[in-house]
């Protein structure tokens, strides 16, 4: 899993990071993942270029890294539809590119997902996962998840907000095991999925802002081994978020809104002056 045996692409120019369909999959600040990736390269003296590719533009297959973010049901289906022809992301991954797919983007990266009408829509097939509609309640709150050991990563922190449930097929490995929160929600306690140079997760925050080691893992798949950076400020944030999740700020199921009855029809007893 992960990047085992992956060819690190040779390059003589800037590392290119594509934000896929920010107009459709850009609802939860996930565009920040591309900022984090680019800055962590630049701070190490490497050139990086972030390219936002809107849904009316073709997604190039030639970039080094791709970020997909969260979005609403309709736009999510549109995004998957726009990438069905030509399979740019599959071709890119086959050529050595890396994909980070978050929330709706995670579902798009899978085999299929339930559309807003509940019927299955074809995903990009980058991950062996399927997303169904949940019970109608949404998983909303802080998540703490223990990454699978072979990634060698510290605990993951993020924020989830999704109604879908994701189940993993035999060729996908979970990204992590949930300690606090819901994650994939299929009852197996897993969060996210891991394919070859593809990561899917429900974590916002954005996930790479809160988990710099995950950011560097993703980058190393694309550009090879990286030296350390001073992450003292992020470490302070991580300590605060992990402590916050322990003190009961974890996922809650969203309560239904207070209902307000419309005004009752006038009857003789309701007509007096106030």
């Amino acid at each position: 899993m992960g990047a085992e045996g992956a060819p690190v692409r040779q390059r003589d120019s800037a590392v290119s990071i594509v934000v896929v369909h920010p107009d459709l999959l850009g609802t939860y600040g996930d565009g920040g993942n591309a900022v984090v990736l680019a800055q962590r390269l630049r701070w190490r003296g490497m050139a990086a270029q972030v390219v936002e590719v809107a849904s009316d533009q073709p997604v190039p297959a030639s970039a080094d890294l791709y970020c997909l973010g969260g979005g609403e049901d309709g736009p999510q289906a549109q995004s998957a539809g726009a990438m069905a022809a030509g399979r740019p992301l599959s071709r890119a991954v086959e050529g050595g590119a890396v994909v980070l797919a978050v929330c709706a983007g995670y579902q798009v990266a899978g085999e299929w997902f339930a559309g807003s009408d509940g019927r299955p829509r074809a995903g990009l097939g980058l991950l062996d996962v399927r997303a169904t509609k949940g019970s109608g309640r949404r998983a909303v709150g802080e998540v703490v998840a223990e990454p699978v050991p072979d990634l060698g990563l510290p605990v993951l922190t993020g924020y989830e907000n999704h109604g879908g449930l994701t189940t993993l097929g035999p060729s996908a490995q979970p990204l992590a095991t949930v300690r606090t929160g819901v994650g994939n929600g299929g009852g197996d306690g897993t969060e996210g999925a891991l394919g070859t140079r593809v990561i899917g997760t429900y974590l916002h925050g954005p996930v790479l802002a809160r988990n710099p080691a995950l950011a560097d893992l993703v980058l190393s798949w694309a550009v090879g081994p990286l030296g350390p950076l001073d992450d003292a400020e992020v470490e302070a944030l991580r300590r605060a978020r992990l402590a916050g999740a322990r003190s009961g700020r974890g996922t809650r199921w969203r309560r239904p809104a207070l209902s307000v009855r419309p005004v009752a029809p006038l009857s003789s007893s309701t007509s007096g002056a106030g």
Partner: protein
């Protein structure tokens, strides 16, 4: 009004008074909750026989409500919900305080607009804009727009004042096929487009294009920007018949010219002439502390409120230019939205070239965002200490220090400064 509603209103008002006297809070919401518990239909019955105007949207609700209230008040007494209590409990509390039949101007939380409008049968509903905000609590904006549209379709007697420049709002108000009552389309602008590029009707793509100074939008399905009845030409309100009315406000910024335009259109539906409405709005200088310049320790600070990416973008336009320091305070309580991921949707890169003091309960989230934006910053979580740090890092007392807070961080600073002022008063 039924005996039950009367009892509900009076008990609620009494509990609210008790809450205020005990210092537990403003008393508005707890009083309203008691009234609702006694009589679930209280809101509808308290609204009976009144001319009501509702104002909703993601940004500008409180300001537009205040401006519209000023306009309607120029013709007589008016009831409103001061203090941002815009959930049904707050509306019940506001209407309970006045049991005459005065007209009411009410700010309504965008998630509750449908049921509230159904309950109170308003004369006019003003729909400002919709963009991402508190996504852990409020539904995604497209879903909100669809719910607004369904609610308005059931209110053919209600006049809608809608922002023609916001595709989701325009769809909600009946663009692309009438759904109910008359609509006044105002080109109030929506610089934030990240939430409206997907068509609310067909899930296609909305294309924006500028022509002759205005931004048109359209989708391939035929849904397009309705021709506006009113628009802004700088600080002049222009009508489709060519009439031009100068807007003179004490409030700063493009967003407040837009709020005034929306309020003027709503006031016209309430029977107040545009000229009279605009002149009544001119003296409104601060809105529940927003834009207020207050004494803070050794200097002065100007209080700015921004709650979501669209609001931050408008607020950055108001901030003193670099190298003047800025204090930015972020909380993530229920009223703010628990998930501050939206910090990454805000172009904080625009604050480069100055010191930013990162404050509030989520100062560390902000600090990480500023670090990646390569903005010089200092972390001071407590808000008054952050203002002190900003004043210490500033060029002097020549201009007030700008403080931008999201909802509860803004309230925290106001309360702390009020405590300091009381403390100073006691000591003299």
């Amino acid at each position: 009004m039924t005996v039950r509603t009367r009892v509900a209103a009076r008990t609620g008002a009494a509990v609210g008074m008790l809450s205020r006297r005990l210092g537990a809070g403003g008393g508005t919401v707890i009083g309203g909750r008691v009234s609702l518990a006694i009589d679930r239909g209280a809101l509808g019955r308290l609204a009976l026989g009144r001319r009501l105007a509702l104002v909703s949207g993601t940004n500008g609700k409180t300001t537009t409500t205040r401006l519209l209230t000023a306009a309607v008040a120029s013709a007589g007494p008016v009831v409103t919900n001061i203090g941002g209590a815009n959930l049904p409990s707050g509306l019940v509390a506001a209407l309970s305080r006045d049991r005459s039949r005065s007209p009411a101007v009410l700010e309504v939380d965008e998630g509750y607009l449908g049921p509230v409008a159904g309950a109170v049968q308003p004369v006019v509903v003003t729909l400002l804009n919709l963009s991402r905000d508190q996504l852990d609590r409020i539904s995604e904006v497209r879903m909100l727009g669809a719910r607004w549209r369904a609610a308005l379709a059931g209110l053919p007697g209600t006049h809608v004042v809608a922002n023609a420049d916001d595709p989701i709002v325009a769809w909600a108000a009946g663009a692309g096929g009438g759904i109910g009552g008359p609509v006044t389309w105002v080109a109030a602008g929506q610089p934030w487009r990240a939430d409206s590029s997907g068509c609310p009707r067909c899930e296609g793509r909305i294309h924006f294009h500028c022509s002759a100074g205005t931004t048109e939008w359209a989708c391939g399905c035929g849904l397009s920007r309705p021709p506006p009845d009113l628009w802004l030409d700088g600080d002049v309100l222009v009508g489709a018949d060519g009439r031009r009315l100068p807007i003179c406000l004490a409030l700063p910024g493009r967003c407040n010219l837009a709020n005034a335009a929306m309020a003027t259109a709503a006031a016209a539906v309430m029977g107040i002439s545009e000229k009279q409405a605009l002149s009544a709005m001119a003296s409104t200088a601060e809105i529940a502390g927003r834009y207020q310049v207050v004494r803070a320790g050794r200097g002065w600070t100007r209080l700015l409120l921004a709650k979501n990416p669209a609001g931050w973008v408008e607020t950055f336009d108001l901030v003193a230019p670099a190298p003047a320091p800025v204090v930015v305070a972020i909380n993530a309580r229920v009223a703010d939205g628990r998930d501050p991921s939206w910090l990454w949707d805000v172009p904080f890169e625009r604050l480069a070239g100055r010191l930013v003091v990162a404050s509030g309960e989520r100062a560390l989230d902000l600090a990480v965002r500023l670090a990646y934006a390569e903005v010089d910053h200092q972390v001071v979580p407590e808000v008054t200490a952050a203002v002190e740090a900003g004043l210490a890092g500033g060029p002097g007392a020549s201009a007030p220090l700008d403080f931008i807070g999201n909802y509860t961080a803004f309230q925290d600073l106001r309360k702390a400064l009020a405590r300091h002022r009381r403390g100073a008063g006691d000591g003299s």
